[in-house]
Amino acid sequence: MAGTDTSQRKARVDPNKPVVEFIGVRKKLSGRMILDGLDFSVRRGETFVIIGYSGTGKSVSLRHMVGLMKPDEGSIRIDGDEITTMTQRELEVLRRKFGVLFQSGALIGWLNLFQNVELPLLEHTKMSKRKRAEVVQEKLELVNLWQDRDKFPSEISGGMKKRAGLARAIALDPQIVLYDEPSSGLDPVIAHEIDKLINRLRDSHGMTQIVVTHDMESAYTIASRIGMFYHGKMLQIGTPNEIRTSAVPEVQHFITGGREGAVSTRSDAAIQHGRAPGMLSQRTAEAIDAAADAAPTEQVYVLLEERPDDGTPAPAGAPSTTPELKPEAELESTQEHQTHEEKP
């Protein structure tokens, strides 16, 4: 029955029209440009995987998709409908198209697994109790958790929570399923189980799926297309093979775990000091770029003696003891000094 449903849906809408479309989306959060002109579109029925360094705002882009966050600039379209200007009520209708699997599963703590999966059915359908139980059983069996239906989220492992979260996400047979780091914190076997589930949903239910991950193995297994997210933009979008053989040095750097390829001076400097490239404050990033233009690359690393964003002092004995690193203030003055020298 689900099959005919999908084919009818496909017949009604143009299959080539993108389901999700981001056009020039910008978002600034606590002084950092998280999304900086993000452009991409996702086709119907494909599994689109977004990869990229942690802390760069991949999850933020997912939150934009369902209207939990609004962009500062740009437009986001779901099935051709502009969602950035939608009212709360319109958003509620829009969200029925989505199922979202959150990083930790986000199950409601006082409901057991059965009730958690039943929740969207209770809220949005007028199904009889028997029908609801059937649907819940179907979904929980799909993720292999039916025998644990009476357990509460606090009694089960992380992998089970994620699978239960997935069962809840697809309870209403959404058109689009979003996954936020589905394999993080899971052992390889369970992570692979989740990958198989994602593939099964694509093949049997024809769902459009968008997956944010930094697990490359999983990305190759599930992706129709992969998009590399880098400094708030899509650096490259391609099939798994195109990404694997990518000539872009930043992409090579990411997918080989830093063994090959290279990144910009800015990211390289950050990685050298164990920071995610996306986590640099706007000011430091700009300072590094400016210094990179003015000075040889080696000197740029010095600029990373940056305070953490929450304002707590950097731990003692951290890189600050390394001789070539100087405090940021001093660096800025050096930089000013340099530009000053260049002027005459």
Partner: protein, 260 residues
């Protein structure tokens, strides 16, 4: 960039008021959420009853002892009943019950909602188009508003009983003397006003707890902060509103007396 503290206060107050109004406006969902409301009433009311009664009992006893010592100097120990009843009904009952509830229920409510917020459960509800105000906040606010006055009634009665016990055993006041003066301690209007105060404190504490929970960010530290802020803000508001409501009541009573 850090905002000026006053702006934060205004923003917080505004959010809390809007949340409270929104929750109250969702009373039409109350029937659908009756199970959740009953569950919260159990936690807020039934489970808080022993500790609230214990508190009020001892407060009543201490109060009787202290006033009794002073009254004994003038040979007026019989008046203890009057003082206890008027104080319990007008002030101590609503007020101390509110304190117990904030400490026991308000803090945990903020921590619970705060944890839901930081573990993305609130977002998950929103993504499922389940309004978190209707699903999480409204049942708590309603249960709190119902059980606050109910607990106040129990607390006040137990407090008066505690006073009577001490008066009888330690001060040597006969029970019938205690009751005879106790009747003059409070008129019906005092009782209603005391219950109204309790309702106001309850709504206020529930709104502050839920609002702090919903605004939580930043993991375990944030949850702790939400819980702490709730206790501080709710208790401050309680004492402040208590003063306002009491002076208003006095004003009205005087006005009425002057007219008659």
């Amino acid at each position: 960039m850090k905002d000026f503290w006053l702006i934060k206060v205004f923003r917080g107050t505004g959010y809390t008021l809007v949340l409270l109004l929104e929750a109250l406006g969702l009373f039409t969902h109350a029937w659908k959420r009756r199970a959740a409301i009953m569950g919260q009433m159990h936690i807020i009311g039934a489970q808080s009853l022993p500790i609230a009664c214990f508190f009020m009992l001892l407060i009543g006893m201490v109060f009787a002892l202290q006033t009794g010592i002073e009254f004994a100097r003038f040979g007026q120990t019989n008046l203890v009943g009057l003082v206890i009843v008027s104080a319990m009904v007008r002030e101590l009952g609503p007020w101390m019950t509110a304190f117990v509830l904030v400490a026991r229920v308000g803090s945990s409510m903020a921590a619970e909602i705060g944890t839901m917020k930081v573990s993305e459960e609130i977002d998950a509800l929103e993504v499922m188009s389940v309004n978190p105000v209707s699903y999480v906040v409204m049942p708590r606010v309603f249960a709190y508003a119902i059980m606050g006055p109910v607990l106040t009634v129990f607390g006040t009665l137990v407090g008066i009983a505690g006073g009577a016990i001490v008066a009888n055993i330690q001060l040597g006041v006969k029970l019938e003397d205690f009751l005879r003066f106790a009747e003059r301690g409070a008129e019906p209007l005092d009782i209603y006003w005391g219950l109204l105060k309790s309702l106001v404190f309850s709504l206020c504490a529930a709104a502050v707890a839920c609002s702090n929970g919903m605004r939580t960010s930043g993991g375990a530290v944030g949850v702790g902060q939400a819980s702490r802020n709730t206790v501080v803000i709710a208790l401050t508001l309680t004492v402040f509103l208590n003063y306002l409501l009491t002076s208003f009541y006095r004003m009205v009573k005087r006005l009425v007396a002057g007219l008659m």
